[in-house]
Symmetry: C2
Subunit: 220 residues, 2 copies
């Protein structure tokens, strides 16, 4: 533990690096809020944070790395809410209720960060192996295995996850002008069909789920 530098100096250096990183991400987030993600450049972030362009490149590699780092922060908050936050999104509610809450929270989070998520979309080869996708997929598979133990949870997990794909949500909301209420109703219906839950039970639970999940504020 003390092989490189003293225990006193190193945490300081690390805290410094973390602060610099946070300052760059704050500047990038402001730029996205003001001008949208499409126009975000490494140069603009450097200028806004008053550092050299090289610092931004060293820290994030390239524009995709920067966008990924930006999304990472709000994704971590979302992960905390479904892994350990209050029920029904977090532990403590029956699996089907948690699935309903998860989809509604993910739909809200997707629409909040949609432009950023589309700009940072991994290529086809990496789309299903990047850590945020794996964490979400594992969570959905875990709930599916509890709800329908005899089913192929891994494959059905991909089916549910694909409904929450930012590219599809962009198509439905922006290209087809579909209201978010219809996407949420579609999620409840899909969970009901996939888990074999009666539709009436789905409608009863969804009202409570919406309220509770809303209180956790999943998107940053």
């Amino acid at each position: 533990m003390l092989e490189f530098g003293t225990g006193v100096d190193e945490p300081c250096l690390r805290a410094d690096a973390a602060r610099n990183r946070a300052r760059l991400l704050d500047a990038a987030a402001r730029l996205v809020a003001e001008h949208g993600a499409a126009g975000l450049t490494m140069e603009a972030v450097a200028a806004a944070a008053e550092v050299g362009k090289g610092t931004v490149f060293r820290r994030f590699g390239d524009r995709t790395g920067l966008l990924t780092a930006l999304l990472d922060h709000s994704e971590k908050k979302f992960q905390a809410s479904f892994l350990s936050g209050p029920a029904p999104l977090g532990p403590g509610a029956p699996p089907v209720e948690r699935l309903r809450a998860f989809g509604c929270a993910a739909l809200r989070r997707a629409t909040d960060d949609l432009e950023l998520q589309l700009a940072a979309e991994p290529c086809a080869d990496r789309r299903f192996v990047v850590p945020p996708h794996r964490v979400r997929h594992s969570h959905v598979v875990m709930l599916l295995r509890q709800a329908v133990p005899q089913a192929d949870g891994e494959l059905l997990g991909h089916v549910l996850m694909s409904y929450l794909d930012p590219a599809l949500i962009h198509h439905l909301v922006n290209q087809c002008q579909m209201p978010m209420e219809r996407l949420q109703a579609g999620w409840h219906d899909l969970v009901a069909r996939v888990t074999g839950t009666p539709e009436g039970a789905s409608e009863d639970a969804s009202g409570g789920t919406d309220e509770s999940a809303g209180g956790t504020g999943p998107a940053g």
Copy 2:
């Protein structure tokens, strides 16, 4: 009809252009078969077809245009098989049977052309509006509306389509080493859950469906 050129000359010119185009596509298809899609360049196609590089660029615009044109030919054959080919893939079988056959044929077609389909994948903004996707989605929605008239066919159509996404199939087959039999069983299970068809009926029908759909040779 006769405003530009005579009725005699023009069909000849058009036939000539079509022959040249076919020659370039044949050369490109040979290169993909020999060396894979990843290494396909406009220069290599020009050399293989013994024409100038400019001719290839004029004809297809860019590499994505060339890959799209390559896929277009086999997609048209696939479209013909589900729009007007023999049942159960084509008209004449009950909608749930046609859905089962459609998925199995699409899975086979995806694995045949997988590398090409991944290389030609449209960006997130265009993925759901390109004509091949729209034709397939409309077909699935039409069958869903017959099978489950009270459901939101448009949304459930996207759910079924996403299972056949080349990027997901690549992940499952190449990155997770999942056998094609499991993907096919997963498709039958998904159709059963989405349409509320009993699982026993699904298993009975899938055997016949597989054989019949195989006979139509959907992938070129």
